[in-house]
């Protein structure tokens, strides 16, 4: 990963700094330029504390890469000493109790500045709507809204910071030249693996969300059981699964690499399982960790193959899952269910093919887009379970 030099203007001063491509603008301001007035709250574009002006437009500096600010003019809260409008806002914030701890204030001031100059006729309702992207945990917003309304209604000074024309970005080197040579160095997905050594307890999953699914097969229950209980066969149905070891405590350790659109993760997991050959059922409890995002999934799965009276068989799955870490901040329950369905359809199709003595269609598998991290880990567990009857 080549470091790059970024030339930009910060608070009126030209700056040239070498930085990593992954450095976002907020870190660039804080760590390279020591402009710590820009605050970082959520670092995922929700809280608004890091809002600064880039080319005169309010911008989330935590989800704006410094590298994309080449040639830009950045103005952070430190850059308004001589700005009459910002002085009026500061004064109003002070008078109306528009801040207490002050953590959100740099972002609030930038957003407030933008409201005053862009929406001169805004009423309090509109101000609240415009402020919705800046979170404050002290004031209850009343003082902030009052402060901005006060400035709006009392002949606000002219805004000196104004949106600039968007320019075409010039680059001396073609993208293929600068990125082509180094890109194949590493696969970031495979960069790090941490296999959790422990598994969760049943009681720790008591309040966790559940997901139940059923898949039908036009085959006898024995055929399906023979596939899902044959380690080699079922392994070929799973996305990127692999068993690494069995510990002395008879815990299975393995991993799976899964993807969902741009989301790529390498989960490593430990699971304990019990199988009931007579009832064609099984129980799995385990824990998976995505080493790079530090997300953790605890889960439990009960599954059963049932022979249907009208012919064919049914595979029922009852899952309980608890997700912690970045992935849980990101995921929404509707997504989890949708993705679980997609992966189940895929696995079911492969099981079906194998039970008929055909090869599972791996080309469709690798191209399949909607693979769930959680569902995959569950399915990975099933696989590992069934490997070691």
């Amino acid at each position: 990963m080549t470091n790059m030099t970024v030339d930009l203007v910060v608070n009126g001063t030209p700056v040239s700094e070498t930085t990593e491509p992954r450095t976002h603008l907020a870190d660039f301001l804080r760590e390279e330029l020591h402009l710590t007035g820009t605050h970082l709250g959520c670092e995922q574009g929700v809280c608004g504390a890091c809002t600064v002006f880039v080319d005169g437009r309010p911008t989330r500096s935590c989800i704006t890469l410094a590298a994309t600010c080449e040639g830009a003019e950045v103005r952070s809260v430190e850059g308004f000493d001589d700005d009459a409008l910002m002085a009026a806002l500061r004064d109003a914030f002070k008078r109306h109790h528009g801040l207490q701890c002050g953590y959100c204030t740099p972002g609030m001031l930038v957003t407030g500045y933008d409201i005053v100059r862009r929406l001169p006729n805004a009423d309090a309702t509109r101000v609240r709507k415009e402020l919705s992207g800046n979170l404050c945990r002290c004031t209850g917003y009343a003082g902030i809204v009052a402060a901005i309304m006060d400035v709006l209604e009392n002949n606000p000074p002219l805004a000196t910071v104004q949106p600039q024309t968007r320019t075409v970005q010039k680059s001396e080197k073609s993208a293929v030249e600068s990125i082509g040579a180094t890109a194949s160095i590493l696969s970031p997905v495979a960069a790090e693996k941490i296999t959790p050594a422990s598994i969760p307890t049943k009681s720790s999953l008591a309040e966790a969300p559940t997901l139940s699914r059923t898949r039908r097969f036009d085959l006898a229950a024995t055929d399906i059981w023979n596939v899902v209980s044959d380690p080699e066969k079922i392994a070929s149905c799973m996305p990127g699964g692999q068993l690494d070891s069995i510990t002395d405590d008879n815990l299975l350790q393995g991993k799976c690499a899964v993807s969902m659109g741009p989301i790529k993760a390498a989960f490593a997991g430990t699971a304990k399982m019990d199988l009931n050959e007579a009832e064609k059922s099984g129980h799995v409890i385990g824990r998976g960790k995505d080493g790079l995002s530090r997300s953790q999934l605890d889960g439990m799965l009960d599954f059963k193959v049932i022979s249907l009276p009208e012919g064919g068989a049914e595979l029922t799955l009852d899952m309980v899952y608890k997700l912690t870490g970045p992935l849980s901040q990101f995921s929404r329950p509707t997504l989890v269910a949708e993705i679980a369905d997609r992966i189940l359809d895929q696995v079911a199709a492969s099981i079906d093919a194998l039970a008929r003595g055909q090869e599972p269609d791996l080309t469709t598998q690798s191209n399949l887009n909607g693979l769930s991290l959680m569902a995959s880990v569950f399915m990975g567990w099933i696989k590992r379970v069934l490997r070691f009857r």
């Binding site: 992954r22 976002h24 990125i179 890109a183 659109g261």
Partner: protein, 275 residues
Amino acid sequence: MKPALFDFAVAQSLSDAQSALLGGQNKLVSGNQSLGPMLNLRLTRPAGLIDISRLPELRNIEEFEDRVRFGAAITHAEIEDGEFPDPTGHWMRDAAANIAYRAVRNRGTIGGSLAHADPAADWVIVMTGLCATAIILGPEDNTPPRSLPMEDFFTGPYSTDLGPDDILAAVDVPIPGQGARWAYWKYTRQVGEFAKASATILIDPAHNRTRIAIGALGRQPALLSNPEAVLDGKQSPIEALSEAIPDQPANALNLHAVALSRALEQIKESKEFSA
């Protein structure tokens, strides 16, 4: 919190960006407003990012007799502010004005949002509801870009028909016929949040287009097969949705039925389109 290491390059041209994708190993980025959070949380770890946000080819607008072509790197704020003509009168502007927050709209782009294909994103349902078409540039030289209706472009959550070397270059938005009407309603628990349920209605008699789209399903939007029955009151929203999205749990079904009911109320009061 830092993203995993990646390389970065600014594309000089569309073909440069295409070559630099290296078969999907690297990823295109424009506003970074949806990808950024994923990068910071390390949920996505592309080997490299190719910035296409300021490519002139993607910042264009082209007006045809029956449609307007929006370059993929046009920002939500530019549409909100009317910096580019809105072929639908003000429907696109209204939708743009309610995407996330102004700071996000200042950088986020229409093409980026569509290519990212978050099931709850505004443009995903609005462009589907407006019968828009994706304009996709394939890797072969001298081949005209292919057009794909939005309902075929999205294939699942965060998933599109784009191949590893494809670029979503633009989106074609049809100009509504005289007298056309439109409604878009979304449910969010907080202003600017991702929608939990959403619905659009398009009634365009001049073009014989009637469309009801249901969004924020966790996958691509669903189109009602018989929108007329709902519009004529022969089928209630909940009946129609029980048919169209039977797999959704009861609470989600109800939420979407409310979204559709609100859109139905909205369309009764909506002004007719005139060019």
